[in-house]
Symmetry: C2
Subunit: 211 residues, 2 copies
DNA sequence: CCTACCGATCGGTAGG
DNA sequence: CCTACCGATCGGTAGG
């Protein structure tokens, strides 16, 4: 019934979503600068002019992909924070939530971490502001578990090491490998929890070797 | 004395080294695909034709930079292995050696981790083979400390998490920040040593939830 | 939603 | 005849 009479906005939306999905895969695979708008058009089965009907330029594709993904990461953070877990469980849930997001949005995550630097400064700043909120949420959970780390100003660096472990995964994780993302989440969690509890908390940045 | 009579090969070598240094900085800053040979020529203060006198094409620049750097990393590995440290000290020294290399070869390291994927498959394979040797050296040191990790096939994943912490640093470390690279090396070492000793060693990949 | 294009710039090479 | 280069421009393709 009404098979030939979908609302135009619905078609419009499908088309737009398809273009974004194809762009995401292309950017993740060969990088933003090496992907041409002809590549995007061909992969989408549309003319280049049609792509430009939905997006004003190549950067807008990148910006939309990055913005959508970082907003989803922020949503994961807010979902966890609403649960009122004790601090250590909050950090565990943040890690688990990110690993799950990573699994379902592998390409978008890669675009976010590798290609955002090609945005002009205004658009880039907006993305980076949201990324900073995400980092702050993790650092807060860590500081709630071990407040000495914050007074020693080690909460941010340690959080960045955690993000390094997670964000670097796309370079080596084999989806068909023996380790599932749940396994990975458990490994990262054990590694990080075991690790930060060993960091000397008497230490202060730059005051290692008092002369 | 003899100020006007340098050996031609010496001039040649200086010129070549200068081109590589400029390319390295440009590739690290804006990425390989976004750097033009005109950029390289301009930064080097030479004509593009002169660049092509030293290097047959753009890829050869990238290949030389990556090859030189990964060979230097392998040299660090071999230097440490020659010392016959006990296993835990060997891993400590590997981490410290890499952090020092990272400090002095920041740009080259970034090019190695981000741009090698743009090499054609033959040249890329040669680099990746050396990278695999580096990873194996770290994994071996780890397995020598805790052999159960190897039998549980967790030595490689844990090693890759360590590389994640190190390789991700270029995205957030501020050279003028309070933490020196020596501080960073100590932090990463504490974090990793504290962490892997907490990983459940009874675990086997993919056998988490036996049905 | 397409064909037909543009100004500019790409990687690479000519003659001298 | 060689090396170490230069100014100018090639055939194609980029984003738009």
């Amino acid at each position: 019934m009404n098979r030939n009479k979908r609302a135009p906005s619905e078609v419009h939306n499908d088309q737009r979503t398809a273009i974004l999905a194809k762009s995401e895969a292309l950017f993740a695979g060969r990088g933003f600068p090496s992907t041409s708008m002809n590549d995007v058009a061909e992969a989408s089965g549309l003319s280049k002019a049609t792509i430009y009907h939905y997006f004003s330029d190549k950067e807008e594709l990148l910006q939309t992909i990055a913005e959508t993904h970082v907003s989803r990461l922020l949503a994961v953070v807010k979902l966890v924070e609403r649960e009122d877990y004790p601090p250590d469980e909050r950090l565990r849930q943040l890690i688990l939530g990110f690993m799950r997001e990573y699994e379902t949005a592998h390409d978008a995550h890669r675009v976010l971490t590798e290609d955002v630097r090609f945005l002009e400064s205004g658009a880039r700043a907006a993305i980076l502001a949201k990324e900073r909120k995400v980092v702050a949420a993790f650092a807060n959970a860590l500081a709630a578990i071990r407040p000495e780390l914050r007074s020693a100003k080690l909460d941010k660096p340690l959080t960045m090491f955690l993000f390094g472990m997670i964000n670097w995964m796309f370079t080596w994780v084999d989806a068909k490998g023996p380790l599932s993302y749940e396994d990975m989440a458990e490994l990262v969690t054990d590694l990080f929890f075991g690790g930060f509890s060993q960091v000397h908390h008497g230490r202060q940045p730059g005051k290692e070797n008092p002369k």
